[in-house]
Assembly symmetry: C2
Homo-oligomer: 337 residues x 2
């Protein structure tokens, strides 16, 4: 199913929710969003002939525990869901990942929509239909492909977003800027935030449409900065977008590309991101821990080589295969500065 992306304010979202062709809507709402925006959300409206049920999900990755998934599913089944019921996720990427997995599995799949409330959710998590919950052995290991019917983007939510979450979203936007010269130029020319979000959504959507089930490898370039990023994210408990940026920094260091490092710095400044020291600069670098995470990530491909998304220039990503040994040596060298 093709997802419909639209910018909409609270009033417009309410109308769109009420216009959904169903008598039964389940809302899964991030607890902080519920606390701050309860009165403005469509789920608190009374509408004739419509049954609304609200499930409050815990913040962040907590929402993606299998126990939380189970509680949420049982709540929805208890309330009486039918095949024409619709689910609406209101929250950041963690809440929409979980809610989408609920929507994909309840009665073997009901339709759903997302109202992303974080910048990362708007430009990344809500696009592509990848939904999942976490295992004890890693993030997003239990999931499905289940595209939402609608994504309603209301940037008013960003006004209350904590600084580090805003930065995390900007981290993914910086990634897009390296993949697309149009987005790079937009940031350097200080285009307004809504237009920038729109560019990122359309950029990712293009890849997703061409490879909805990630079968063709087309989506791989979207993982720029992610191979290192994921390992850094776990090692230093970073936010996802921060980790992606530091993953790119590490990649550009490995590739000996000072020009790209300079561009990254310029993008960071234009997006209002404070200068931060790399997480690996403080004290001892737990290189083995980082390498073990990269090694674990490797499990997803069945080979002794690791594919990394590299960059010839802005807008020119390419995939390079490195032997795992070669990769480890290069990473070690870069981390030790």
């Amino acid at each position: 199913m093709k997802t419909c992306y639209e910018f909409a304010n609270f009033e417009q979202i309410e109308k769109k929710v009420l216009a959904l062709k169903t008598d039964s809507i389940f809302f899964i709402v991030d607890e902080r969003v519920w606390f701050l925006y309860k009165e403005s959300l469509p789920c608190t409206k009374v509408a004739e002939g419509k049954n609304f049920h609200v499930w409050i999900a815990p913040r962040g990755e907590e929402a993606k525990r299998i126990g939380e998934f189970e509680k949420c599913v049982e709540f929805i089944l208890e309330k009486g869901v039918h095949r024409n019921s619709h689910l609406v996720a209101i929250g950041g990427g963690a809440v929409s990942d979980m809610a989408g997995f609920v929507a994909s599995t309840i009665l073997r799949g009901i339709t759903w929509s997302i109202i992303p409330t974080t910048l990362l959710g708007m430009v990344d998590a809500s696009i592509g239909g990848k939904v999942a919950i976490n295992s004890r052995f890693g993030k997003n290991l239990i999931g499905a492909f289940h595209s939402p019917q609608n994504v309603w983007i209301n940037t008013d939510f960003l006004n209350s977003l904590p600084e580090d979450e805003l930065e995390s979203g900007n981290g993914e936007i910086i990634k897009y800027a390296f993949l697309s010269s149009e987005i790079y130029e937009a940031i350097m020319n200080d285009v307004n935030r809504d237009s920038l979000i729109d560019l990122c959504v359309r950029y990712k959507m293009d890849f997703v449409t061409r490879d909805p089930y990630e079968k063709k490898g087309i989506r791989r370039v979207l993982n720029l900065g992610h191979t290192f990023g994921h390992a850094l994210e776990k090692t230093f408990s970073l936010r996802h977008g921060h980790a992606v940026v530091w993953g790119m920094v590490l990649l550009f260091q490995i590739l000996n590309r000072q020009d790209l490092l300079d561009k990254l710095n310029a993008l960071r400044i234009n997006l209002g991101w404070h200068e931060l020291p790399p997480p690996w600069s403080s004290g001892d670098v737990p290189i083995n821990k980082i390498l073990s995470y990269v090694d674990k990530d490797k499990k997803i491909c069945d080979s002794k080589t690791i594919s990394i998304v590299c960059l010839e220039d802005i807008g020119k990503p390419c995939v390079q295969d490195l032997s795992l040994e070669e990769f480890k040596i290069k990473m070690q060298r870069a981390l030790n500065g």
Copy 2:
């Protein structure tokens, strides 16, 4: 993905498993099958360059509890699954339902195959890609569509199948006989068991291929006897196939079709099924309980009418819409004999 159905003995199955293009295979095996057939199963063979892992699942619906699903998924993730890993379910419908749901959600979907060990599994559960686990609020409420790559049918398993499980499989076969005159004739002409299974598989496959995600209503005729059957199954704790047969008996009584009741009796005798009194004949009939289950089933459609698969004649199913009230009155009349 189109499923490949093949009859195969233990030796042939072993070869086919070893020929799977992967270095990593997870087996989910019914505990009774494991106890009886351990030595003959492919999972106990040693094969160079292949990693085999075995998860023993409890018998019957117990395998489909969300807690069992979680334990099985975490086992597989702990052992190190990758996107090219393959899963093989060895057991009846409950085990393959659960295993298929595991295969559909692990890393957002890995390929899988089924070795059905019950007659019901061979002629029904293994066909169609519907996989699911149970909720506290009902069976198969959490699931997906995820077709297996292969179904390897080894009727040797049926030699150790308890009588009532064999009968349960024959119950679904009787249903097929009413839907297809070819299958009806085959039974009345005492065709051999393998050919009969083959006919049933091909009959159901035809519907599944034309409507893989149950979107078009084409598969609905396969539910002959199921609307009442499901309610009787829960009310009297019947086996599925038995419930389907009694569901058909009730339907034919409601439709005043003594000719179909006679044919059902002839089929039953030819399949070697002992005569049993209808479950509702002994003592008080809990009509309200039965009706409440039918009512609950109704939830899956968004209306005040209920669609029932009826039968003009052998091979001529049709769908009739009844108002829920009318339906209740007719059912009540039939149950009271």
